[in-house]
């Protein structure tokens, strides 16, 4: 919110929203998913743009049109929502054309592209452009970056050991990079990776891109204040 305020945008947070419904949808419980989806559709009926800090939630909205195929009124609303739904970096770079926030973040950083955001929603270049323009940031590529971290929502609970093997391998690669910070665009994946890092007592910091940019902008502001 603070980042967007710098560009004259006040983010609204309609209180009626709950969850996009993906946990139920992916598990095959579409009726239950619809109950959650309706809160999202209603919440943003009057918004021009809808922004979410998760590529996975943003992509979930793309399933609404099919989910509501027997409820034309909801389906129409769902179609409208899909057209104005954006993942955070997609909105910042794609709509606003902002690629450089003037952030300063002097750390070694690596990036995990979450599957739904990058593969299904197609958000690939946006986060890289934003990171490229952060001063002082040393970017190190993550080996096998595109491999799923093993989160998969209820998959991590239902198939816990397969998921555990996947996140352990992801974190092995992360440790190989010797990065101080892992950045991503999806809280589910980040929670998964951070949980495994903590389980293994590894000190790598896990941040959402928004958090990194905000901290970077604050660093720059402090720098300017000290310099003045």
């Amino acid at each position: 919110m603070r980042l967007f305020a710098n560009y004259g945008i006040v983010l609204e947070f309609p209180n009626v929203q709950t969850c996009c419904g993906q946990p139920a949808y992916n598990s095959g419980y579409w009726e239950e998913a619809k109950a959650a989806a309706k809160t999202i559709i209603s919440a943003f009926a009057d918004s021009d743009f809808v922004i979410t800090p998760s590529g996975s939630c943003a992509h979930m909205v793309h399933h609404y049109v099919e989910m509501f195929k027997d409820e034309p009124q909801w389906q129409e609303q769902a179609r409208k929502l899909q057209g104005k739904m954006f993942e955070f970096s997609q909105f910042l770079v794609g709509v606003l054309g902002i690629k450089d926030l003037g952030a300063h973040f002097p750390h070694k950083v690596t990036y995990h592209p979450s599957c739904h955001g990058s593969r299904l929603l197609g958000v690939k270049s946006e986060p890289m452009e934003l990171l490229r323009n952060v001063r002082g940031l040393e970017f190190v590529p993550l080996p096998f970056a595109e491999d799923c971290c093993g989160f998969g929502g209820t998959f991590a609970i239902k198939m816990a050991d397969i998921s555990g093997a996947m996140v352990s391998e992801k974190v092995d690669h992360l440790i190989e990079t010797e990065a101080e910070v892992l950045v991503g665009l999806d809280m589910g994946c980040l929670m998964n990776i951070a949980g495994n890092l903590r389980y293994r007592n590894q000190p790598v910091r896990v941040m959402h891109l928004v958090e990194l940019l905000y901290e970077g902008v604050s660093n720059s502001n402090e720098h300017a204040a000290n310099g003045a």
Binding site: A24, G28, I98, A156, K158, G195, N196, R198
Partner: protein
């Protein structure tokens, strides 16, 4: 007992656990899938315009499957004109009966086979052996797993789960002498042994990569030359093919020959590509005197007309989805429990069965990451199909009772932001008992699985929805209007109104 029944023992989780505890298997699978996956990416990049080729491949497959009755008819007519005996089998059992009747009529004692997934699907080897007919796999990988009495664990690399030391042991036992774990020596042994088998065999059994409707021909892709031996030396050839193997023309084969080897192994072309249009003609130097093609349905036609699953029939069995799959990478093929493994197997195995209640839980063994779809040369949306399988099982009332109750609770909480907020507040209160340093390490209740590999985060002391009001009030005074940003948003909105701009 058939291999498939053996493999299906236990639940997906139990079978996966066996694999997860087997370091040899995991290392072997990781090593080979990585090699194949990177080979594929390199080959696709070198070829260029890969996505356009994929789309072309998809269109050919979509068209063929949409008119499958027509092209099957054309194929059968042309093949019969070429002197081939064409048979249609509705079930695995029928296909076996037809195959065995041919073998019995020829008083066959042995059959050599080239690699064929469809004969694995119908368990042909066991059926032949039950009649005392020796069935010999002649693809090196298939030969190895036949010795081990196992099912293939990968569509194109059947013995992917074994390393060369394990293979050397198996082949040494077969040879009656100790063979060194050197690939060339091991392959040399099998080559010599199989030569005799080829010469003795009464029947050659092949699969079929593509069947060309316009000439009634079958096409085989292979690297070892064994399929050529199988289809030229024995007097009788029996080809088994799934009814969806058809493509209309040789021109379409060009696209498939571009997609298949590159997607499978990263090769530009396999070492041998054979087109076979019928039995030996008067002036041919070799070839079978009699040729049969058995076309198998076995659940395939159930997908026709099903909007969610018809595209399954587009599959060209390249195995690229297995090599790209992060789940397959850790659990290998046997954990899937069917003839076909990996993402395609997780969908195909249940889809080929009529009864939803019998569907295994393999559809749950996926994080839905979409790597399979991205790797697929004909763009089959396997990740969406996995969700459809889960939904159909739930809708048919065969879901897990505990999960079902949980999802009802989910709907109850998520349909109202008030209930949702109260639940979170309740959670904040409840977690006080288990939070340590801002995390929840206890392996209890639903967190047991999660916390066996991680530490769960706790719910924030103050939720964003509780902070939002203050934050907005605070920022309200600081917001600086930005003309450029405002203009870009207006432009976007105008574009949307005109129907011109869409971000999809």
């Amino acid at each position: 007992m058939s291999t498939q029944q053996t493999a299906l023992k236990g639940t997906v989780k139990e079978r996966a656990q066996l694999a997860l505890n087997n370091d040899f298997l995991r290392q072997a699978v990781r090593f080979t899938t990585e090699r194949l996956r990177s080979g594929k990416l390199k080959a696709a990049e070198e070829h260029g315009n890969w996505d356009e080729w994929r789309e072309r491949g998809r269109q050919i497959r979509l068209h063929t499957i949409a008119h499958l009755d027509y092209y099957l008819g054309e194929f059968a007519t042309n093949a019969r004109e070429n002197g081939v005996h064409v048979h249609f089998a509705a079930t695995a059992q029928e296909a076996i009966q037809i195959g065995l009747a041919i073998a019995q009529a020829k008083e066959a004692k042995s059959a050599v086979k080239s690699k064929s997934m469809v004969t694995e699907e119908i368990h042909l080897n066991q059926a032949l052996q039950s009649l005392g007919i020796e069935a010999i796999e002649t693809d090196l990988g298939e030969y190895i797993i036949q010795l081990a009495n196992e099912a293939p664990s990968h569509i194109i690399i059947p013995a992917i789960h074994k390393n060369r030391y394990q293979i050397a042991e198996l082949l040494s036992e077969d040879a009656g002498e100790q063979l060194p774990p050197e690939t060339s020596v091991l392959a040399g042994y099998v080559r010599k042994k199989l030569r005799e088998k080829f010469l003795q065999a009464d029947i050659g059994v092949t699969g079929c990569n593509f069947a060309i409707a316009e000439t009634g021909s079958i096409v085989l892709f292979e690297n070892e030359g064994n399929a050529r031996m199988v289809s030229t030396v024995p007097k009788t050839q029996i080809t088994f093919m799934g009814m969806e193997r058809i493509i209309p023309s040789w021109a379409d084969l060009e696209v498939m020959a571009t997609l298949l080897p590159r997607s499978a192994t990263g090769q530009k072309l396999t070492v041998y590509m054979s087109g076979i249009s019928g039995p030996k003609r008067a002036d041919d130097g070799d070839g079978p005197e009699e040729m049969h093609i058995i076309i198998l349905d076995n659940g395939r036609s159930l997908q026709l007309g099903d909007p969610e699953f018809q595209e399954l029939l587009n599959c060209i069995r390249c195995g690229a989805c297995l090599n790209a799959c992060p789940v397959y990478r850790h659990i290998g093929g046997h954990a899937y429990g069917g003839t076909y493994s990996g993402p395609i197997g997780a969908v195909l195995t249940p889809a080929l069965k009529k009864n939803v209640a019998e569907w295994d839980d393999i559809a749950n063994a996926s994080s839905l990451c979409g790597a399979c779809y991205e790797a697929c040369p004909v763009k089959i949306p396997l990740h969406d199909m996995l969700v459809s399988l889960r939904r159909r099982k739930v809708e048919a009332g065969h879901g897990n009772a505990l999960e079902s109750a949980g999802m009802k609770g989910f709907a109850g909480v998520m349909s109202s932001s008030k209930v949702y907020h109260s639940t979170l507040k309740l959670g904040k209160l409840g977690q006080k008992l288990v939070v340590r340093d801002g995390g929840i390490p206890a392996k209890i209740g639903p967190l047991k699985g999660w916390n066996s590999h991680r530490i769960a985060p706790s719910i924030a002391k103050k939720l964003f929805r509780e902070r939002y009001g203050e934050l907005k009030a605070e920022l309200g005074q600081q917001v600086k209007a930005n003309a450029e940003v405002e203009q870009r948003m207006q432009q976007w909105l105008k574009g949307r109104q005109d129907g011109g701009i869409s971000h999809e």
